[in-house]
């Protein structure tokens, strides 16, 4: 249906946030968000979830749920200056674990981005390179990260590097694959237009391929940071000292159930924060896209 595809893309004759600064644009989007019903629905969603947790564990004592730590126990433990099981907002150890996990993810994510983006760009750019490399890549990619654990420990004598390697590996695949798709899905008319306008091969790469693939690259980075946390925690549970995965695993072995939940919720928050950082970086680099979304009131 080329006719449908050929419809004008944006709204016509409506250039509202045209003269806005970056901050202004962010505020504009924030105010749109606050005016919509979405934030209130979000609060309701949280309330329902936490309410169910409370009722299921502590009031109704449903089968399967009654062994779980209740919300009040967890919160009390979390806020206590003298936690029963040794981990709360008030203990330095809590922050050491968080810091350690963040540091590992940061290394893994950084390496995966620095290697994965150029690798993916090259895969999408050169058909020959892709023919050599992609089959191997596709064979390695589905191997679950946990299956890599023994090999990682053999390869890296130090546990620390092994953990970072495992977190890196999953990230790398996600980033490289999405970057490649970004290059491949770029409309041919952009590169054609650039060559009409006299751009050389490198200029096309720098001014067309790279910025054109950026939305896909950042989708890849969003996935990448997520799987990086996922494989990090898996690796920390298998081996390692410190880290949130380690906290969850040892608490399980030592029957400190509230601490398990503290570790899990902390992972949720830290993971969300790191993805938000990636999203902010993406918005910063793709102002054109943010503006288009703002015009579409999203």
């Amino acid at each position: 249906m080329p006719d449908a595809l050929a419809q004008p893309r944006g709204p016509t004759d409506r250039a509202q946030p045209e003269e806005m600064s970056r901050l202004g644009l962010t505020m504009y989007r924030l105010s749109l968000w606050l005016q919509s019903p979405r934030p209130y629905l979000m609060v309701v969603g949280f309330a329902l979830f936490l309410g169910f947790w409370y009722l299921a564990v502590e009031v109704w004592r449903l089968p399967r749920f009654k062994e779980m730590p209740g919300i009040t126990t967890v919160i009390k433990e979390w806020l206590s200056p003298n936690p029963t099981y040794g981990l709360s907002f008030h203990t330095a150890e809590y922050y050491q674990h968080i810091g350690m996990s963040i540091w590992r993810v940061a290394q893994a994510f950084f390496l995966a981005t620095v290697l994965g983006v150029p690798f993916g760009l090259f895969l999408g750019w050169s058909r020959k390179f892709k023919e050599y490399v992609f089959p191997v890549f596709e064979l390695l990619r589905p191997i679950p990260i946990l299956a890599w654990v023994p090999l990682a420990i053999v390869m890296f004598i130090a546990t620390e590097s092994a953990i970072v390697f495992l977190a890196f590996l999953a990230s790398f695949f996600a980033t490289a694959l999405n970057t490649m798709l970004g290059v491949e899905s770029l409309d041919e008319s952009y590169t054609r237009a650039a060559s009409c306008l006299g751009a050389g091969k490198w200029q096309v790469f720098r001014h067309v391929i790279l910025p054109g693939a950026l939305p896909f690259i950042f989708t890849g980075l969003q996935i990448s940071i997520g799987v990086s946390w996922f494989s990090l925690v898996a690796a920390e549970m298998v081996s390692g000292q410190y880290g949130l995965g380690y906290v969850i695993n040892t608490s399980y072995m030592m029957v400190r159930y509230p601490t398990i939940v503290i570790g899990m919720i902390t992972l949720g928050f830290v993971g969300y924060a790191t993805s938000a950082l990636v999203r902010i970086a993406g918005d910063y680099l793709m102002e054109w896209r943010v503006r288009e979304l703002a015009l579409a009131e999203r």
Partner: protein, 286 residues
């Protein structure tokens, strides 16, 4: 066939941009089943002429445009630009370059660059102008085309009609010999379209270049063109070449003139016949 360059009003005669398409054949060979897209097609487009290529969707006219632009090769024949070979049997694919700029069907402004950065892209990439000079020239040309005020907007923030104008300005910044337009207005509603036609003519009267304009809209073709080539559907070759003797400059009054109606009547049957053939063949859009 009348090969004289049209007399531009009040400007110097256009001396460059003559395209000679001589006996061009293009055979696609997907899965071994040869498909002839262009069949011994010959067409002479005078310097500074607006030549409209009319045919049903998928008839192979874009193939011809791609050959001139240098996106695709040809199987045999020759295409000359001002006497120089663009492509021939020995050199089947022309080199894309800023002397022949394409304005694409769905628009190909870079959405990640502001309108002004799009406009200065050509001269800056070629190193023909420094950024500052390019920006000055770009702003001036945008203002001439009624685009003052949207220089720092991104293409996604302006109307589709404006985007088309920005894209034409981006092309003209390179001082091309030929503009190749591939159904640039098909996505526009008819009101915007009529405004765009006059805007295109206005830009054309100021910057005389040869225009190779693909369309399937006969009224658009006769309204804009010095010459209208009605193409047969796959394989593509001129079925009828019409010289539009309505003098330029034209405006929308032309549409209701007697001569315009006569020309439409004269050619309507030929176009309809090809459209019917294309429909019966179940051609896909292309």
């Amino acid at each position: 066939m009348d090969l004289r360059a049209p007399e531009p009003r009040g400007g110097p005669a256009v001396t460059r941009g003559r395209i000679l398409i001589d006996d061009v054949v293009k055979i696609y060979d997907p899965e071994g089943a040869a498909v002839m897209a262009v069949d011994h097609c010959s067409l002479d487009i005078a310097a500074g002429e607006i030549c409209m290529i009319v045919g049903p969707s998928g008839c192979g006219k874009t193939t011809l445009l791609n050959a001139i632009a240098g996106f695709h090769d040809i199987t045999s024949g020759t295409i000359l630009l001002d006497g120089e070979v663009l492509c021939s049997k020995d050199k089947p694919k022309a080199e894309p370059g800023p002397d022949r700029i394409v304005v694409f069907q769905n628009g190909a402004l870079f959405p990640w660059k502001t309108n002004l950065d799009n406009v200065v892209f050509g001269p800056v990439m070629q190193g023909k102008l420094g950024r500052r000079e390019a920006v000055d020239k770009g702003r001036a040309m945008m203002a001439d085309a009624g685009l003052a005020g949207v220089e720092l907007n991104y293409p996604g923030e302006v109307s589709s009609g404006m985007r088309r104008r920005v894209e034409i300005v981006r092309a003209l910044m390179n001082d091309p010999k030929v503009l190749l337009l591939d159904e640039p207005y098909r996505a526009l509603d008819s009101l915007t379209k009529s405004v765009m036609h006059e805007a295109l003519l206005e830009i054309y009267y100021r910057n005389k270049v040869t225009i190779f304009f693909i369309t399937h809209d006969l009224e658009e073709a006769i309204f804009l063109g010095h010459k209208v080539a009605i193409m047969t559907t796959r394989p593509c070759k001129p079925k009828k070449v019409l010289t539009v003797d309505i003098p330029h400059p034209r405006d929308y009054g032309v549409l209701t003139s007697k001569r315009f109606r006569e020309l439409i009547e004269e050619t309507n049957d030929a176009v309809h016949e090809e459209a019917l053939k294309a429909f019966q063949a179940g051609e896909k859009e292309g």
